[in-house]
Amino acid sequence: MTDADPTSIAGMPFPRRDSFAHVVIGAGETGIAAARAAASSGQRTLLVDEHPLDPGLFGLDIPYLFGGRLDASTRQAGRMEERVVSARPDLVMAMEEGVEVALGVAAWGAFVKGASSRALPARLLGLADRNAAWLVAFEQLTIAAGARDVALPFPGWTLPGVMGAQGFDAALRLYGAFSGRRIAIVGGGALAMKAEAAARAAGLDVALRIAAPAPLRILGREEVAGLVWQQDGTWHETACDTVVLAVDTVPMADLPDMLGCAIAWDPARGGFAPLTDAQGRSSLEGVAIRGEAAGTAPSQRAAWLDLALAADDALVCACEEVSAADLRALRPPRYLDAEGPEAGLARLGPPNQDQVKRLTRAGMGPCQGRRCRESVHALLSREGPAPLASYRAPLRPLPLAVLAALEEDPALRANWTGWFGIAAQWLPHWEPAPSDAEYIGGRLSGEDVVK
């Protein structure tokens, strides 16, 4: 065999900043315990947590539904880091026991060998803070990233002041930056009761908690001013500045999906949840998934979503402005001003959320589908659960400048081509392929390809 195609990925080293025997994602109780256990068994261990977040992510509701109810203190990175540490005292113990802790660092990608990625020199994790992205190599990975919020697309749900239970909890107890005063809580399970207890403990005014699935409308022009709900056939109204949607959460399955871990639909575990054994091991060797990332408690999500999605004008995807009716009609996005196919969704055969995303744009916006994933899935799953919509890197929306800061091997630059490196592909196809053609298909460098 001759040398490998220098314009291919074969042999690319992908410089990494560090290597760890064990990386743990998520510094909640579960993640801290996993990191301490790994370190105590002698493994060089890194524990990363995306909090405190890049403030730009609060407005995008990443990773939780924050609903614009965090105060300006969240812009001060140093102060927020202190709060995160003081909210999680075990972090200090983990550090003292030798765990390397990286706060404000998001895991945006994981890269392992597979049928279409054979060239990777090691298992790699893409990490990023507010300034730069980098790679670390890992042997074992524990994902303890927890769960994220499920939004319910009732009228008014996109108003500032509509939060998820996780967003509320983070605002209140992690960041100490909740800016609301009088809250209404939606949900009847443990999640809602926990939110209510936390609110009362913080001295907040809890206007009410709606436990049983009911039609809702959130009132307000610029932000939440109140909540209207139906009970026993009549409408009731209360004033509030915050509505906490605490019906359900969903396991944060983005990293497991990107790694190729087996994930299955299980409504009793929060929807799509990774398959794990009793020890938390996923289907992928060396990757464990623990805590709520591996499954959450049963809830009344389906009944609530059905109520919200019954209205044709329910705004399902807020980023791309796609309504329930648009989805049912498979209507192209508004900028095209065109109708969908006759028969709408029924034209597609077995529904696939990624396909519907590309046709309607539902889930294609800057929040990376976090606000509408569960609604769209519910809408497509009338005849049984549609398959999981895929997660792609970067798993957090990273500025070009941050990704661009990832260290690059010089050979990658020297051999970069716009499309393969086949010179004859770019010369007239009505003439025989010349044997010594010059490649004009987007070479970056005028030099000969080197490696």
Binding site: L120, P332, G349, I422
Partner: protein, 375 residues
């Protein structure tokens, strides 16, 4: 009945033109139409090195109306150079079109900035191609499929093809996971799976599958002409405003059976972001929200195979060698003519026959350095 094996953009376009002329067609697709690389690519419609270029340029402006659904096609391209070497190579590829009578215009930095406000001082200049364009791959692929059905054609999704039954030197049926479909002619347009489908007919269709990747940013306010690229990237600003760009190292792979492997991404996505920021230095704050992967195939010389076999004589083999989306309106018409009359009357396809690989050594992939690494 004409059976098209493969619901990618090439097969769907062929089915569309055949159905439009009143021929009964069935497209058999193992998964979802336009699902693989047909639906996820740069969307470019500018291929002056192809004998189908002129037809590509003639047809795209009509496709929305012909298909009855929007393809998001928009005309023209702008090429940006960050150094004189890039500019020189851009002019060489421009000449392929201007030699055929198409117009292009040099842009100095000021003119370039006027059209593309995102470029910075690093741009030495550019070229405005008053030809070519770009469209939305998934929307266009789906539009072909819906048009086929509207014209009376049949599309079978989630239906893998297991073989082609022959009798007396002709294909008589396509065997699928759900039974046989009798046929008068077959078009094999199954992307990287084309080789495995043609092999039992006694034909070696040399091709190597590879994985490629792209990134997508959050939407920006649309600029006048979104088809802007350079700096080793191909791509565009979509009509919605997102920047979708690809390029850089590909990965040669092997297929394992009839499934197409999941096209993952690699840290190359950061290399794409780096080059996009170099191209548009004012956009460092713009967030990357997605990446794509796709599996494509390349022939040994990187050029299409568009050929009607001699035996069985009613089988047409089509591979666009990794560059199929933009040419698809023209390719479908050309393949329709190969099916119906054995030759294409509007383009010279003489160099795209399978026979050009007759003397290809068995280990051609190794010799070209295109072997897949072990999993």
């Amino acid at each position: 009945m004409i059976v098209i094996v493969g619901g990618g953009v090439t097969g769907l376009s062929t089915a569309f033109w055949l159905a439009r002329e009143g021929h009964p067609v069935t497209v058999v697709e193992k998964g979802i139409v336009g699902w693989e690389a047909s639906g996820r690519n740069g969307g470019g419609c500018t291929h002056p090195y192809s004998p189908l270029f002129r037809e590509e340029q003639r047809l795209w402006p009509m496709m929305d109306e012909l298909l009855g659904h929007p393809t998001e096609w928009r005309p023209n391209r702008i090429k940006v150079a960050l150094d004189e070497g890039q500019l020189d190579r851009l002019w060489k590829s421009t000449k392929l079109a201007t030699d055929q009578g198409f117009a292009a215009e040099a842009l100095d930095r000021a003119a370039l900035r006027e059209l593309v406000p995102w470029v910075g001082e690093s741009a030495v200049g550019g070229i405005l191609w008053k030809y070519g364009g770009h469209a939305n791959p998934q929307r266009a692929s789906q539009a072909y499929a819906w048009a086929v059905e509207r014209l009376g054609g049949r599309i079978l999704q989630h239906t893998p093809v297991r073989g082609i039954r022959t009798q007396g030197g002709r294909a008589v049926a396509v065997q699928t996971a759900n039974g046989e479909i009798g046929c008068d002619a077959v078009v094999i347009a199954a992307g990287p799976h084309t080789a495995a489908l043609a092999a039992p007919l006694g034909h070696r269709v040399p091709m190597a599958p590879a994985r490629v990747e792209m990134i997508v940013t959050e939407p920006l306010p649309p600029i006048a002409m979104g088809g802007v690229d350079g700096n080793g990237l191909y791509g565009r600003q979509t009509l919605r405003g997102n920047l979708a760009y690809g390029g850089g190292p590909h990965e040669w792979i092997d297929l394992d059976g009839e499934a197409t492997p999941r096209p993952v991404n690699t840290p190359v996505v950061a290399g794409l972001a780096r080059r996009l920021q170099e191209l548009f230095p004012r956009l460092g704050h713009v967030r990357v929200i997605r990446s794509w992967g796709g599996i494509v195939e390349n022939t040994p010389d990187g050029r299409p195979i568009l050929d009607r076999l001699e035996d069985p004589g009613n089988v047409v083999v089509a591979s666009m060698s990794s560059v199929g989306f933009g040419l698809s309106p023209a390719t479908g018409r050309a393949l329709t003519q190969l099916v119906l009359q054995g030759r294409c009357d509007f383009a010279d396809l003489s160099q795209l026959k399978l026979s050009r690989f007759g003397n290809l050594p068995v280990d051609w992939r190794s010799r070209q350095g295109w072997d897949a690494l072990p999993v």
